[in-house]
Amino acid sequence: MTDAFLNIENVSRRFAPRVSFGDRIAAKLGQKVDTRITHAVDGVSLTVAKGEALGLVGESGCGKSTLGRVVAGILAPSAGATSVAGEPVMSGGHKTTTRVQMIFQDPYASLDPRMQVGDTIAEGPLAHGLTTKAQARDYVGKWLTTVGLDPAFASRYPHQFSGGQRQRIAIARALAMQPDMLVCDEPVASLDVSIQAQIINLFLKLRRELNLTMLFISHDLGVVRHLCDRVAIMYLGRIVELGETQAVYAAPQHPYTQALLDSVPKLVLDDGVTTSFKPIAGELPSPLSPPAGCHFHLRCPLAAERCREERPLLREVGTARLSACHFAPFAPA
């Protein structure tokens, strides 16, 4: 895409185990010391257009949160770079832009329990000169109103709020930095069903009113279908499929996407219907020693000799559709 607003270019993030002095001696003496490197994110390139919402879906350990943190400038990539509106998110290991802000999963852990929420929200904008001490009160009130809270709540502490309200406060804090882009890491996963719907509606409203660009990380395929224009499916550090949400859900072009969609329990409304589950065989391999070739081949019903040896590249298999499967494209079922 030419009008890329967020540009993720060949980003990798590796984690090496901390090897202590003792471990090094043990290794010298012939002991086995685990020095394997985790490739949490392995050469991911993505673009997101202005005002677009991209869903990033995968199971725990697939690297989606690590990628989100790199995009938000919280974690430096081991290789590659990200930029927003042509401006690099990080340079020299430090975040250099306020255009990207992040919202986290757990609103109980992401707010300082000893700070009044108004101070929490004002802290960033004051530091970056987006408001002044004199105007901070009104400024905070404006953002609290935007997320559907009473401005008078500014003087309260996090423990006085419910989970849904806390998540609204975390959203207000991110918005108060006047970002162009939000990275949301499972923002509704820890909320009750009825509260989840309220926060989803809030995101829809914010997208309409503020034209926000969003990277929406979730394991919940239903939430992503509802909120996102496009979706990227991630497996063991790599993107395996990318496309428009509706199209991907209707006719997946990667066996893993198909398996994920099959795993989601559906609401059964007919009497006497016995649902059969079609679970994916096996489990997510350890990212410490991912299988060679296609990472999914151990669990894939289509796996052939070629999949064990040759890494499938993410390539175009249809209009605006990428898949990293040797056998794609698949005819729609």
């Binding site: 199971e59 725990s60 419910s162 849904g164 309200q165 009750d192 069903v193 009825s194 509260i195 989840q196 719907a197 309220q198 989803i200 509606n201 829809l204 409203k205 394991h219 395929l221 239903g222 939430v223 279908r225 509802h226 909120l227 949400t245 509706q246 398996a259 994920l260 099959d262 795993s263 989601v264 329990p265 559906k266 609401l267 059964v268 409304l269 007919d270 009497d271 006497g272 219907v273 649902t275 059969s276 589950f277 079609k278 679970p279 994916i280 489990e283 997510l284």
Partner: protein, 330 residues
């Protein structure tokens, strides 16, 4: 759905009330809950956090710790009343005739004891002794829940298993004595969808093969709909609607059940605002008089200031002054 009127139900819960007597006041976590369950039947107990669904499960097993206690009501299981039972008698049932699986297998298994040893202790607690017997039984149940190479895995510690495998171990331990009733409290909530699908498939097979009754406690309507014969929806300590799962979800009578269904993104057009339930779940310390859902309910009026009675209509029950109408099946 089996278990006709002729046979006594396996489990009969009547007007169960579990209250927590805290310094801030009495928290009526479970307040007047009744249901019955027959052999081989699966009931989904649905609600949001604080609805009392887990405390209901704990109450059946006598696992409520002070300041909480069962304030009133009866729990009859295989003809015996569990509420009035002495702790020593209850211990003989717990883990043997009634077993429970919890949400987080990482905290329910002992991290410093091998799973083989934990299973041996669970077997010996109910009189199965001897190296060979305990080992054979352990391997059998582990294999049953889909743990490959079970005999070798007996020597492994919980941390050597993945989350999904750990939950299978927890289920295997619950199955050691062929319980008549299994209570599963959000057993797949902490797991990935692909692993959840595996566990659900396993559960379905277990119920079908062993004739075990199952109480599946969950906030997820979709998993309940694919597993449970009947459903009970809880709100603020009470069952507000109950009945055959598909019938209730297809045609809910209580506005709260309707609201839960409408909140699901899977049922709405992408990008459209979801129909949301306004407000949040009430504090159990300061429940409104009358129907606890009234402050959030679109159908509430003055009548809702009085607690609605549980109305039974054939197989279905609801607790609402203004129930949604039944659509006529075509």
């Amino acid at each position: 759905m089996s278990g006709g009127a002729a046979t006594a139900p396996l489990l009969e819960v009547e007007d169960l009330a579990t209250h927590f007597f805290t310094r801030a006041g009495v928290v009526k976590a479970v307040d007047g809950v009744s249901f019955r369950l027959s052999k081989g039947e699966v009931m989904g107990l649905v609600g949001e956090s604080g609805s009392g669904k887990s405390v209901t499960g704990f109450s059946l097993l006598g696992l409520v710790d002070p300041p909480g206690r069962i304030a009133s009501g009866a729990v009859r299981f295989e003809g015996q009343d569990l509420v009035s039972m002495r702790p020593s008698q209850l211990r003989r049932l717990r883990g043997k005739r009634i077993a429970m699986v919890f949400q987080d297998p990482a905290t329910t298994l002992n991290p410093v004891i091998t799973i083989g040893e934990q299973m041996r202790m669970a077997l010996e607690a109910h009189g199965v002794t001897g190296e060979q017997a305990t080992r054979a039984r352990s391997v059998a149940v582990l294999t049953r829940v889909g743990i490959p190479d079970a005999a070798r895995r007996l020597g492994a510690y919980p941390h050597e298993f993945s989350g999904g495998m750990r939950q299978r171990v927890a289920i295997a331990i619950a199955l050691l004595h062929d319980p008549a009733l299994l209570i599963a409290d959000e057993p797949t909530t902490a797991l990935d969808v692909s692993i959840q699908a595996q566990i659900l498939a396993e559960m379905k097979a277990l119920v079908a093969d062993l004739g075990m009754a199952l109480i599946w406690i969950s906030h997820d309507l979709a998993t309940v709909s694919s597993l449970a014969d009947k459903i009970a929806v809880m709100y603020a300590g009470r069952i507000v609607e109950a009945g055959p799962t598909a019938a209730v979800l297809r045609n809910p009578r209580h506005p709260y059940t309707r609201g839960l269904l409408d909140s699901l993104p899977a049922r709405a057009d992408p990008g459209r605002d979801l129909v949301q339930i306004p407000g949040s779940t009430p504090s159990l310390l300061s429940l409104p008089p009358g129907c606890a859902f009234a402050p959030r309910c679109p159908r509430a009026d003055a009548a809702c200031q009085v607690m609605p009675e549980l109305v039974t209509e054939r197989l279905r029950q609801h607790r609402c002054h203004h129930p949604l109408g039944l659509e006529v099946a075509t």
